[in-house]
């Protein structure tokens, strides 16, 4: 077993806060590892410690047998072999893509400009950016910038590549192109550690999944183990929540557009078609206003929680809503001809459920797919 990276009892403290308590890990050469977990669980911090951008409070990191946390360690030399891709690309402003790519090999490895250029050109060609070689960062889209940043990191021929949420800052339309490039690299026996929120991608690309919680590697295993049969409670909750959409409302003037935006994103994540997505939006909007008017008088304090669940097995959507106020079951109301909202709800509901327990209205409905 060829271990390229070994982490022992790694701990990081920021004053009182301890994002990472105790991490132990061995990474084999050529392994692709996806790191998932809720925000604030120290995933990025962990990654940034692996190339010395953050100093651990305790513990050791051995990279190719060398302790990079040791006092005499020349971090600059280590970093040449550890590539990093950042969430916000971090291309150097004022330099073209090609200059970004060749700066480090020319300056640090003494590669001739010509050789560096030839090499970069091949890489740019492979990531589909040949035409953008002479563009400046502000002349490129986010996806293009991230691809250029990957080329920049690849130019140093790193032993290991660290991806710190490489698609989180991207427009959804550009996620695909970047993921495609990373997939391509993964097939080339590169060792990679990828912090990501793209679950499908993580599942597809990784040999191993690390789930971070409570300041440690809470659970790890193959993608199938983690995604299909998580064992520990937090993993289960996290994997489940990935299929949830949740929105709280506490005022009549809530931001409807923002909510709809989030619903659309949620729907896109599961590849729902546009009509189903629109149906979901309509139902959410109508049920919210129906309940706002039915349960609350003007001036009442409003507390409402909307949840949307995607049931992968059936490929259908379920929506549930909880709210206070007086008891009100919209589905019992008579529908007059001009009451469109009730008509819509009743029309799209495959099944529905209502209860009023302990002063809380609960509505659950399944939305008919188109």
């Amino acid at each position: 077993m060829n271990v390229i990276l070994r982490v022992e009892n790694l701990r990081k403290e920021y004053g009182e806060v301890v994002p990472l308590k105790n991490i132990n890990l061995e990474v084999r050469r050529g392994e692709v590892i996806s790191i998932i977990g809720g925000s604030g669980t120290g995933k990025s911090t962990f990654l940034r410690m692996l190339n010395g951008l953050e100093r651990p409070t305790a513990g050791k990191i051995f990279f190719m047998g060398q302790d990079i946390t040791a006092a005499g360690c020349k971090l600059e030399e280590v970093r040449q072999k550890v590539g990093m891709i950042f969430q916000s690309f971090n291309l150097f402003d004022g330099l073209t893509a090609i200059e970004n790519a060749i700066a480090a090999p020319v300056e640090l490895k003494g590669l001739s400009k010509q050789k560096a250029y030839d090499k970069a050109k091949k890489l740019f060609e492979r990531v589909g950016l040949l035409e953008k070689m002479f563009s400046y960062p502000d002349e490129m889209s986010g996806g293009q910038q991230q691809r250029a940043a990957i080329v920049r990191a690849m130019m140093m021929e790193p032993e290991i590549l660290l991806f710190d949420e490489p698609t989180s800052a991207l427009d959804p339309t550009m996620v695909g192109e970047v993921l495609a490039v990373i997939r391509m690299l993964a097939k080339r026996d590169l060792t990679m550690l990828i912090v990501t929120h793209e679950m499908n991608f993580a599942r597809e690309v990784a040999d191993r999944i690390l789930f971070f919680a409570d300041g440690e590697i809470y659970e790890q295993g193959t993608p199938a183990e983690i995604f299909d049969a998580p064992k520990r409670p937090k993993t289960i909750a996290f994997i489940r929540r990935q299929k949830f959409f949740h929105y709280d409302i506490s005022t009549r003037n809530f931001d409807l557009l923002a909510m709809q935006g989030k619903i659309i994103t949620f729907a896109e994540k599961y590849g729902l078609n546009a009509r189903y997505s629109q149906r979901l939006q309509l139902c959410c909007e109508e049920i919210i206003f129906e309940m706002l008017n039915g349960c609350y008088a003007a001036g009442d304090k409003i507390s409402m929680a909307l949840e949307v669940i995607y049931v992968e097995a059936k490929k259908t959507l379920e929506m549930s809503l909880m709210c206070g106020g007086k008891s009100y079951n919209p589905f019992l109301e008579k529908t007059s001809d001009d009451d469109w909202s009730l008509k819509i709800l009743k029309g799209y509901a495959k099944t529905f459920d209502y209860s009023h327990v302990g002063g809380v209205n609960r509505i659950h409905m399944e939305i008919t797919p188109p």
Binding site: N51, G52, L53, E76, E77, R79, Q80, V82, G83, M84, F86, S88, N90, L91, F92, D93, G94, L95, T96, I98, E99, A103, A104, E107, L108, K113, Q114, Y117, F134, Y136, A149, R152, A153, M156
Partner: protein, 495 residues
């Protein structure tokens, strides 16, 4: 630029054409005229007796009287004839009407106390003596009727056996008492010097403004007051006057008819062509430019040097830098200039222009340092991290990737700071550097015409400022990476 010049030309035409002065040939023409005079002085009193309907304008200094006359704000001013003769010796282009408006006796003043009375008596005795032996007339000829070249004076070797007289004067009234090469000289000075020699006194001269001097004498704080003081009944109530040492005719001074050229061309000739005064403007401009450029170079280097030290992040060092920075930020440039000139460098004997460069370098570096500090914060830490992750050292990453961006981002603010430096150099005249502004002042003091020299330096400053802007704009284009061609980006690489 064209618009600005247009505005200046318009201003020139409006003011330059000037107000045509009243034709004045005799006292009668002054009956209802505006007449300048020392406020409340004997010359005004005499003139009022003759010209009760005239309108009097009080002006304290001879230079003000002349300037107002030149600009036709007054039609004439009244003054003792000796003063006017002196002005003519100095080349000031004025005339006076031959008729006298009345005689004004002049003498020394003493406090109304025992010592004052004694001195006054001795002085009266002395005056009678020198009147009789012709010495007084000789002194008058020398000081009141000759030009500067004949007015020699060295202080006598005085024994001071009877004590030292404290003498107070304004020292602004040539030829009676005035400053020449940092020594007070004049008709009254030599006369009292001889008095002291005769009566066994030594003396020291203290300078104070006229009113303060009168008060000092009244209160007995000094022994003698002199300033071509006119003997007035009002003043006699509170102080003692010796016998008149001179009687001045009150004359009405008017603009010279023969040669005075008040047309725009004439004024330009006087201000700029005569005595090659345009060379002064050129010299001033070159000094202003030299100080500015030197300050820009040193100030910029200084700020970068300090900032690079600051970046190292040593807490104690940064604390000191911050403290100095904050302190200096709160000091007006003018004050800093005086501070360096009179305290820090006073013993080193550096040329004043070096002091100016030091001060303006510091002032510029204060601004640029602050810009750099803020500018670095505005560039996301991410790019530095990206460079680090590739294996660059912190310093190399900063110099290669971050600093060029800071410079580009701040350049327009930097340009403003440079222009401010150029503008602020106008104050160096205060420490005797003969820059552009100072030269205009000097010309104005000689010609009593403020407009032409000031409008000239306004244009020169404008030109200098535009020049600076052109150079910095060119630099800004040069440092914009997007203005590079592909060939330049990858020099020496076969694409």
């Amino acid at each position: 630029m064209k618009k600005i010049l247009l505005i200046i030309c318009a201003a020139l035409l409006i003011t330059g054409c000037g107000v045509e002065g009243k034709q004045i040939n005799s006292i009668d023409d002054l009956k209802t005229a505006r007449i300048g005079a020392w406020p409340g002085g004997a010359y005004e009193i005499k003139a009022r007796e003759v010209l009760p309907e005239a309108q009097f304008v009080g002006l304290d200094f001879i230079s003000d009287l002349i300037q107002n006359l030149k600009q036709h704000k007054i039609d004439a001013f009244v003054l003792g004839k000796a003063y006017v003769d002196n002005l003519k010796f100095e080349g000031v282009d004025v005339d006076y009407l031959p008729q006298s408006l009345g005689d004004v006796p002049i003498s020394y003043i003493f406090p109304k106390n025992e010592r004052g009375q004694k001195l006054c008596n001795q002085m009266n005795e002395f005056i009678s003596q020198v009147e009789a032996n012709g010495e007084l007339d000789a002194l008058k000829t020398k000081w009141l009727q000759s030009d500067e070249s004949k007015r020699t004076f060295t202080k006598s070797n005085l024994s001071g056996e009877n004590g030292t007289l404290k003498i107070c004067t304004d020292a602004q009234n040539s030829p009676f008492d005035y400053l020449r090469e940092r020594q007070v000289v004049g008709f009254e000075v030599e006369l009292i010097d001889k008095f002291c020699a005769a009566y066994g006194y030594d003396y020291e001269i203290k300078m104070d403004v006229f009113e303060t001097m009168l008060t000092n004498v009244t209160l007995g704080k000094v022994d003698v007051g002199m300033d071509g003081i006119e003997i007035l009944p009002e003043r006699q109530k509170s102080m003692l006057f010796a016998k008149p040492i001179d009687v001045e005719q009150t004359v009405a001074v008017i603009n010279s008819k023969t040669s005075s050229d008040t047309t725009l061309a004439g004024r330009i000739k006087t201000s700029l062509i005569d005595e090659d005064r345009w060379k002064m403007i050129l010299e001033g401009a070159s000094i202003t430019l030299t100080i500015t450029i030197a300050s820009i170079v040193f100030g910029t280097l200084l700020s970068f040097a300090v900032y690079m030290i600051y970046r190292e992040g040593n807490r104690r060092v940064n604390y000191i830098i911050d403290a100095i920075h904050r302190t200096l930020q709160g000091v007006p440039t003018m004050v800093m200039l005086l501070f360096f000139y009179y305290t820090v460098f006073s013993s080193v004997n550096l040329p004043a222009s070096i002091t100016a460069v030091v001060v303006f370098s510091i002032v510029l570096s204060i601004t640029v340092f602050a810009l750099l500090k803020d500018g670095a914060q505005n560039i996301a830490r991410g790019q530095t991290e990206a460079a680090l992750s590739l294996g660059f050292s912190e310093r190399r990453a900063f110099v290669k990737f971050i600093l060029p961006q800071i410079v580009r981002n701040l350049f327009s603010q930097y340009q403003v700071a440079l222009n401010i430096t150029l503008m602020e150099t106008a104050i160096v005249g205060y420490i005797a550097v003969q820059d552009l502004t100072r030269m205009a002042d000097l010309i104005r003091a000689r010609t009593y015409d403020a407009f032409i020299p000031i409008i000239t330096i306004t244009i020169v400053y404008l030109v200098l400022s535009r020049l600076l802007l052109m150079i910095t704009d060119w630099t800004a284009r040069r440092i914009n990476p997007k203005n590079r061609s592909r060939e330049k980006i990858l020099k020496g690489v076969k694409l």
